[in-house]
Symmetry: C2
Subunit: 119 residues, 2 copies
DNA sequence: AGCTTGTATCGATGTTTGTGGATACAACCT
DNA sequence: AGGTTGTATCCACAAACATCGATACAAGCT
């Protein structure tokens, strides 16, 4: 259950896609995160969790929001977690998930055009 | 060869993943673009093109940069194009590709936490 | 201890996806 | 017209993926 920290390289990745050609290793790590976002169900799950008032959401609320079997939702949550986009904790009977905005911000930075470097 | 304009909805999508739960249709469109980014080869292709000095890159330069057959590169470029991340034009014998930063910026905006809405 | 409910893992299955060989198309050059 | 080179499409195949039923695990309740 590697919780891959993916995006903490000092410069290489955080400089942005458009500032220099991505090395193979960076591309592989980044692709894993983008792949996690490349499914409608996972995007909606992440969005539901991230937009939640208190910042957390119970699986028991997520599952019935979809027309999918419970194991399927569980599987998607696992992928989002492995991508470092969300994390979870069990509290008593229920498991709560929350978003990890730092990962999303890192991705956003990667997609943005180099800002200071031009103009 | 739909060149799906994906990210031009006025508010819904551009408000960001974390501001409100994504509707199913929005999620489907967004997922298609993220899926295009969810492959190391495509990420490197996009990065090579986007970081190119003149803004354009010839396929004849892209293909030999990978250990893959020419049809495979062509296929990946097609997916990036269908996602609205790049576009191309044939000039004489060669085909040139360039990045479409507006799509990347839109994605970045979707990933960013709502900035004005809180604080 | 048993029962019930919430969640994750396992195993199987149908679909999608990445890949490359063969081939077709496009443009140049004799 | 024929030949050569660059690029895209077609077809097939193996690997990856989304899905679900069955089952296992976790925690509360009686």
């Amino acid at each position: 259950m590697q919780q891959l920290p993916v995006l903490d390289q000092p410069d290489a990745c955080c400089a942005g896609l458009a500032s220099a050609p991505l090395a193979e290793a960076e591309a592989t790590e980044l692709a894993r995160v983008f792949k996690a976002l490349g499914d409608p169900v996972r995007l909606r799950l992440l969005s539901m969790i991230a937009s939640r008032e208190g910042g957390e959401m119970c699986v028991c609320e997520l599952t019935p929001a979809f027309d999918l079997a419970q194991p399927t939702i569980s599987h998607h949550l696992k992928l989002l977690r492995q991508a470092g986009l969300i994390d979870c904790e069990r509290r008593g009977t229920w498991v709560y998930y929350w978003a990890l905005p730092s990962t999303m911000d890192s991705l956003a930075a990667v997609l943005r055009a180099p800002q200071a470097a031009q103009a």
